[in-house]
Amino acid sequence: MSNTATATTAIPEPSAATCGAVDKSGEIRLSPEQLDALGAELDAIRQRVIDDRGEADVNYIRRVIKAQRGLEVAGRGLLFVGFLPPAWLAGTTALSISKILDNMEIGHNVMHGQFDWTNDPKLSSKGFEWDTACPADQWRHSHNYLHHTHTNIVGKDRDIGYGVLRMSEDQDWRPYYLGNPLYAALLATFFQYGVALHDVETERIAAGETTLKEKRDVLNGIWHKVRRQTLKDYVLFPALSGPGFLFTLAGNATANLTRNLWAFTIIFCGHFPDGTQEFSEEETADETRGEWYFRQVLGSANLEGGKLFHILAGNLSHQIEHHLFPDLPANRYAAISIEVREICERYGIPYNSGPLAKQFGSVVRKICRLALPDRGSRKLGRLAAAH
């Protein structure tokens, strides 16, 4: 078997000893021994990367940061002459990419603690703040802790639907959900505010489980962040542009919108394309390490693309690897994915991966399908077929 790290590497056939069995409902099951072995193999990858982390990784993230800062300055600068159409276009594009890089490849990854080992205060997960409406400390709580620990567990992972959408058959249908596609479109358009409001838990307030009063600190934090962001993008920069203020305003709004739509698309492709699985609280109680890894693979989906695509996606295109190793530097995921794919083949675990159009297409179809009440068995079609 060749050892070259390319997509055409021969992948070994699943062997009877390691391969999981598909049960009557079409779901893959591994024995406790298989799960332990899986856990050990993935732990070994994790340890190897941790031992190897060093200058190259920190240089990488600093290069991305340098590019982002440059694009920000270029974008703001060009928009000052935004009355010239090419300048407006270039400026808005530069600013859009700056925001995308700041939120995804830099912000999301730094806040996961991927660079805490550097002891550089600028790369510390605790101190980092990002260019979007959501306060970083609230996001760290709802994402790092809640979403990553309880990934795809219905009732615990609030990223399933963000409190406004129906994204799983396990969420009981209500007439409200007829508007699923509309809510999704609105969420995508105003995504930065949707993310900002995540910790307010509006669906729990609506259900009477908590009150707005209890959320006062959260709301206060959101207000301060939103105010700073709004002043920056919609008041100060336009004001400084003098007579061209409308062009600056439009450019900034377009950049924010572009970031919103792109982030929504990439993020929703992470856990909702056909074939990803959700889990119940019962089946995930007292999970072992191997079981946790197993759930992360089955609950996640990857996107295929070139190196630039992966950087712009914040390496969330490697959602499976990210969910297995959320605090390893994201620039490592591409290399790790080759090993993870091989391990999944050997254990017979479906590895959900596809091009953006295909994966997002299946997400859109799911949103529309779940707007309507279910027909027939819930469990049908939940298992991923190996691609």
């Binding site: 340890q47 941790i50 982390r53 060093g54 200058e55 190259a56 990784d57 920190v58 240089n59 340098k66 800062r69 440059g70 920000e72 300055v73 700041d102 996961h112 603690g113 805490d116 080992w117 550097t118 002891n119 550089d120 205060p121 600028k122 510390s124 997960s125 605790k126 980092f128 703040e129 990002w130 260019d131 760290r140 709580h141 790092n144 802790y145 990553h148 620990t149 700073r228 002043l231 920056k232 100060l236 920069f237 400084l240 959320p326 605090d327």
Partner: protein
């Protein structure tokens, strides 16, 4: 006649005030103004203290003297104080304290001398690799070991080895102020070849008649103005009037203990000011939990039970932030300022550095200080 202290630092210049303004901070967004300044030149910054190495002098085999240019965020220091210096080694930032050796004043040019310790990661790295252009992180000037603003009439400055750095700063500062009072500078080193600042000291003594230089080379008898290690009889010979002087001393624990005893015997403790350069202790070898944990922010101290820091903190009545409790989400991350921990996830022992740790998977090994 005692010289007065130097003028207080001038108010920040217009450029600094603009760069530090709230408006610019808002426009710059979350990275702040420094997030952009540092892209132009790595040392630049108005809030984050950094310094660029402008010269690295290796005049003795195991030490390097660094001339640094601090950025606009630097607020000055008083002679005798030290700073935390951060240097990046293979992607990871390590912090160590060094006394400033330059004369205190309003300028931004600083000097420090690093001596390589046998097992010192940072000291050896700097002695081998420090070059002009290297950028170091700086903390604020710290420490109570400094000469009072009302300069004493008569001074005795004692040092051994790399302990010379803070008293060198004091000597230079006083000379720059044209201090008239008598200064006796007593320095212990193994031999002349390994004496840091030997040439500078001789120049200063030549120019300033009120400065008396006394060197004792402990492994080269006869080479200096005195011989052997510190003793009370040696002191009486060198400076019979020492009881009237304010004495500032810096060096290894053995020297400082001897000084404390000598001054204590004459009830002169108030005139003796000491600075200790203590090297970090290694982790104990046994598997039995030992040592204590100091939760610095709460002022709580407990015996180490060997359990992970998160559990020990909770048993001690603290409520640190936590999340997954299995080393994934980093919610429980906090700063360990001293001591060693074992990462139960990897089985590995941490370094002794001030560093961020995940308390849900870190078990103390020996004494530990944590910001909780």
């Amino acid at each position: 006649m005692t010289a007065t202290a130097t003028e207080p630092p001038k108010p920040r210049r217009m450029g600094q005030r603009i760069l530090g303004s709230g408006l610019l901070d808002l426009l710059a967004g979350p990275p702040g103004v420094d997030g952009y300044l540092e892209q132009i030149r790595p040392a630049w910054g108005v809030q984050d203290r950094r310094a660029e190495v402008i010269a690295a002098d290796r005049r003795t085999p195991d030490a390097v003297t660094l001339a640094l240019r601090a950025n606009l965020a630097w607020e000055g220091f008083e002679s005798g104080q030290f700073v935390q210096v951060a240097v990046e080694i293979d992607g990871s930032r390590r912090t160590r304290s060094y006394s400033l050796a330059s004369a205190a004043g309003p300028g931004r040019t600083l000097e420090l001398t690093v001596k390589a310790h046998p097992e010192g990661l940072v000291s050896n790295f700097l002695v081998e690799n420090a070059r002009p252009g290297m950028v170091l992180g700086l903390g604020p000037a710290e420490g109570d070991f400094r000469i009072p603003l009302e300069r004493p009439e008569r001074l005795l400055l004692i040092s051994a080895g790399s302990g010379i750095t803070p008293v060198m700063s004091m000597l230079r500062t006083l000379c720059a102020e044209d201090h008239n009072g008598s200064i006796t500078f007593l320095h212990y080193a193994p031999d002349p070849g390994r004496a840091i600042y030997r040439d500078e000291l001789e120049q200063i003594a030549a120019v300033h008649p009120n400065v008396r230089l006394v060197r004792s080379y402990t492994r080269a008898p006869g080479a200096g103005e005195a011989d052997g290690h510190f003793s009370r009889s040696q002191l009486a010979e060198i400076d019979p009037g020492y009881a009237a002087a304010e004495t500032f001393a810096c060096g290894p624990p053995a020297l400082l203990d001897a000084l404390r005893e000598a001054w204590g015997a004459e009830d002169l403790e108030l005139r003796l000011h000491l600075e200790s350069f203590v090297s970090s202790t290694l982790a104990p070898a046994s598997g039995v939990p030992e040592g204590s944990i100091h939760f610095a922010n709460s002022g709580v101290r407990i015996e180490n039970s060997g359990a992970v820091l998160l559990e020990q903190a909770e048993s001690a009545g603290l409520s640190p932030a936590s999340g997954c409790r299995m080393g994934i989400c980093h919610t429980c991350c906090c700063r360990k300022t001293a001591g060693t921990v074992r990462n139960l996830s990897t089985g590995q022992l941490s370094s002794n550095d001030a560093e961020e740790i995940q308390i849900c998977i870190s078990a103390p090994v020996g004494d530990v200080v944590v910001d909780l």
